[in-house]
Every structure is written in C-alpha cells, then in structure tokens.
C-alpha cells in the first residue's frame, strides 16, 4: 500500500547494503534505556562469570583491564529502527574471558546481567569468536555511562537490546531463558536481518 504523498529519504546505495530492513541510518548515537542511568564507581565495579548460580570467576576493574583487548569496528542496529555504521569499540572478547577463567561453554545459553537489574538472553554460539565482546571503550574513549559504561556487552549482529549495558555478570543457563525485554514482548533471538523485533515475528 503506497502512502499518499510520501516519498521518503533513501539510504545511499553504498550504505543500503549494510542497512537491515526497516532500519534508517543515523550519525547520532541515540540512548534508549528503561530506567535511570546507573553511576558506577570503577573502584567498586565487579564482573562475574557464572554457571547457573555459581560464580566461576570474578574480575575487578584492574584485573579486567589486564585481559587481552580486542578492537572491533562494526555496524549496530537498534530495534527502534536506527542503525549506525562503522562504530569503533574496544574490549575483551568473550573467548578471551572464558580462556582466562579456564571455562569452556558448559551450556548453549547465556543471560547477560546489568547493574540496573536488566537482563537479556544470548545463545553461547553468538558470543564465540570475533562476534562479541565486553566493550569498555567507544570511539577511542572510555565508554560513557549513557552508552553502558564502564562495561557493556556488545553483540553487534543482533539488535542492540541484546548488548546489555552496565554489565556485571554473564551467566550460562541450562535453558534459553527470557530476559527483561524478551519477557515484555520482544523477540528471543533478535536478528536484525530477519527483522526479529517482536515475540511473534518469525
């Protein structure tokens, strides 16, 4: 159905191939979070790797910063329909985190947890290799609180609500458990190229 009188603004063709369906490019970096932005003191920051309820290893800020750092320039896609190309991140690849803890993925599922009580589910396979990291720097500077600093999960091939802000734990779970938005109508997987926005999207 064409909308009378609507012409729209096209994405330049070189960028169009990198823009998933239903998304529009932005040069801004919009902020969308469900509650107040937590103010997290680096001196008290902790991150825990868990299997079920059990903490396998925890890092404070100093220890976390001794882990191998990976740089990643990638496109990001928010379910609210903005996409941003060529965003530059630096952080710890999940593979490197697991190696430091001496842990092989014990299950196929994870929940990422934030300081604000947020959680989101990501399959373990989607965290492997160069696809995902715990980011602590964006565009050459420490990650700002509005964008999830000190540390956020970054899983850029899924909608950005999977990239939990203010990360404080990554937990392997026996089953695929719904997180905050997944319990509130959003998709369990969230692939932007398949437009998996809402729970009943195929």
């Amino acid at each position: 159905m064409a909308t009378r009188g609507f012409t729209g603004r096209r994405t330049p063709s070189d960028a169009a191939a990198r823009t998933p369906p239903g998304q529009a490019l932005t040069d801004d970096f919009p902020v969308l979070s469900a509650g107040p932005t937590p103010k997290i003191d680096l001196a008290s920051w902790r991150f825990a790797l868990k299997v079920g309820p059990r903490t396998v290893k925890a890092w404070d800020w100093t220890a976390f910063n001794t882990l191998p750092m990976t740089r990643l320039t990638t496109d990001i896609h928010c379910v609210t329909t903005w996409s941003k190309l060529d965003t530059a991140w630096e952080g710890v690849a999940i593979d490197d985190l697991l190696a430091d803890a001496g842990l092989a993925p014990p299950t196929g599922f994870t929940l990422a947890h934030g300081y604000d009580g947020y959680s989101t589910n990501v399959p373990a396979a989607d965290l492997a290799g160069p696809k995902a990291m715990i980011a602590i720097r964006y565009d050459g500077a420490p990650l700002e609180p509005d964008h999830g600093g000190p540390a956020r999960l970054l899983v850029p091939h899924l909608y950005l609500w999977k990239s939990a802000k203010w990360l404080n734990a990554l937990q392997f779970t026996e089953r695929d458990e719904a997180g905050f938005w997944e319990l509130r109508g959003y998709h369990m997987y969230g692939d932007p190229w398949r437009e998996q926005r809402y729970h009943d999207d195929p």
Binding site: M1, A2, T3, R4, G5, F6, T7, G8, R9, R10, G22, A24, T26, D28, F29, P30, V31, L32, S33, A34, G35, P36, T37, P38, T80, T81, D116, G117, D146, F180, W181, L183, R184, G185, R197, Y198, H199, D200, D201
Partner: protein
C-alpha cells in the same frame, strides 16, 4: 491487508480521522484501525509509510489516548525539521489518508489504575504523550490514585494538552505543574524555569506519600536531569521507568 485477530507484528491499515494542532510543533493524529486495538497506557505503535516505489520508513509513537477507547488511537507527533516521517505527518497527511500501523508494543513503560500509586509523571514536550494516556485512563476509570504530572516546555503555548491537563487538574485532582523555561511570568500551576532538582522536589511534595511508580519521558538529556533529581530526592531507581528519544 488481513483483518481479524492480528498479531502484534502484523501491519494493519488505519485511517486518519482527526488532526488537531496541540502546539506550533506538535499535532495530535487520531487513527482508526480496521478493528479495535486494545492497549495499555504507555504502549506505542509502529507506523509505516510506503513510497510509490516500495521504499518504506517506520517510526514508533506513543499512544496518547485512553485505553477505554481502543477504536481510535491518538498519536502526538512533533515536527522534526530534519526528520523523514514527522514532516510527512505535519505537511502532507490529511484526514482520510490511510497509513499502516502495528502494535501495541511495549511491556515496561506501562501504568494502569490497578498498579496503584502514588504516581509521578514527568515529561518534556511531546514526551507527554504516553503520560497523557495514563492520566486520561486514570480519569476515565474514576480512579483516586494520587497522581502528579510535571510537564516541561519552553513556553505555555509550547506545552501540549495544556487546556486538557488544566481540566484534569480541576476535575480529577491531578497535581499539575508546567515548568516553562521561557515564561517570565508563570501563572498558577506553572514555574518559570527548567526542570531541576527543586522543581522535581516540589512535584514530589504535592503527593501525599513517596511515589510507588515514576514515569519519565523525553530526550535523553531531559531524562537524565529528571532522574538525577529524583535520585537526589531519595526516590529509588527501582520505581523509575524511562522512555528516551533523540540522540
């Protein structure tokens, strides 16, 4: 398009049945879908526009109308000069035009009278839209849940729904404050400055007890100012829900 019990993710046609200017930059668009769309106050709709060559643009807009009327849903849309979709609504759309919508969407930024109170609502400009759905619902349900609404705008004329909010304050006990940063002579229910810690503390003071639900909607910068002020006033982060837009 298919009718019937649509899924959230199904696009449905809706006709624009009324357009009302709320401020120089914000207008209310009333949409009548093929069938009623039950929703809860605070939820939003996705809107999709299609160009003749098939190109599509979509945006999310909060529903401003009360859930007691699911046959006609009202969106409050601000004209963004560099926007793609909002200029269409303001400059092109007319009563009788059809667009596509889907929803309702959102399971977090939601309040119904069953959730109780006290309720504190803080919005800026068109960010008042989901809060309007809440106060209209509260009025339609005849609820006496204590409620306060703090609305920020530059000027009196730039405050959406000002007349209706005044009426709700008169008739339903809504504790209304307009924070108008460019009105040198604030009137009743107005303060002549931006939202800051003092303005938020004063709004809190108009509730009989600390709020059990706080909803803040506006630009990210506005939401950060408001939530910092709430934290300074001792409101727990766990009772605060936010909706942010813009970069």
């Amino acid at each position: 398009m298919s009718a019937g019990p649509a899924r959230v993710s199904s696009w449905r046609e809706a006709r624009i049945v009324a357009i009302e200017r709320l401020t120089p930059r914000v207008s209310a668009f009333s949409l009548q879908p093929e069938g009623p769309i039950p929703f809860r106050p605070g939820q939003h709709l996705d809107v999709r526009l299609t160009a003749p060559d098939g190109y599509q643009a979509r945006r999310s807009y909060s529903i401003a109308s009360a859930p007691e009327r699911p046959e006609i849903l009202e969106l409050a849309i601000e004209r963004l000069d560099d926007g793609e979709v909002s200029p269409f609504f303001h400059d092109v759309a007319e009563v009788g035009d059809a667009i596509e919508i889907r929803g309702p969407i959102g399971g977090h930024f939601i309040w119904t009278v069953a959730d109780g109170g006290p309720l504190l609502l803080i919005g800026a400009g068109s960010g008042v839209a989901p809060l309007m759905a809440m106060v209209r619902h509260r009025a339609a349900a005849g609820s006496d849940v204590p409620a306060a609404l703090l609305l920020a705008a530059r000027t009196r004329a730039g405050a959406p729904y000002r007349a209706e909010l005044d009426r709700l304050a008169d008739e339903t006990g809504l504790a209304l404050t307009l924070a108008l940063s460019r009105e040198p002579e604030p009137g009743p229910r107005e303060v002549g400055r931006r939202v800051d810690a003092g303005v938020v503390a004063a709004a809190l003071g108009r509730l009989p007890a600390p709020p059990s639900h706080v909803f803040v909607c506006g630009s990210n910068a506005f939401v950060n100012v408001a939530t910092d002020a709430l934290a300074a006033a001792g409101v727990a982060a766990s009772v605060i829900r936010t909706e942010r837009y813009g970069g």
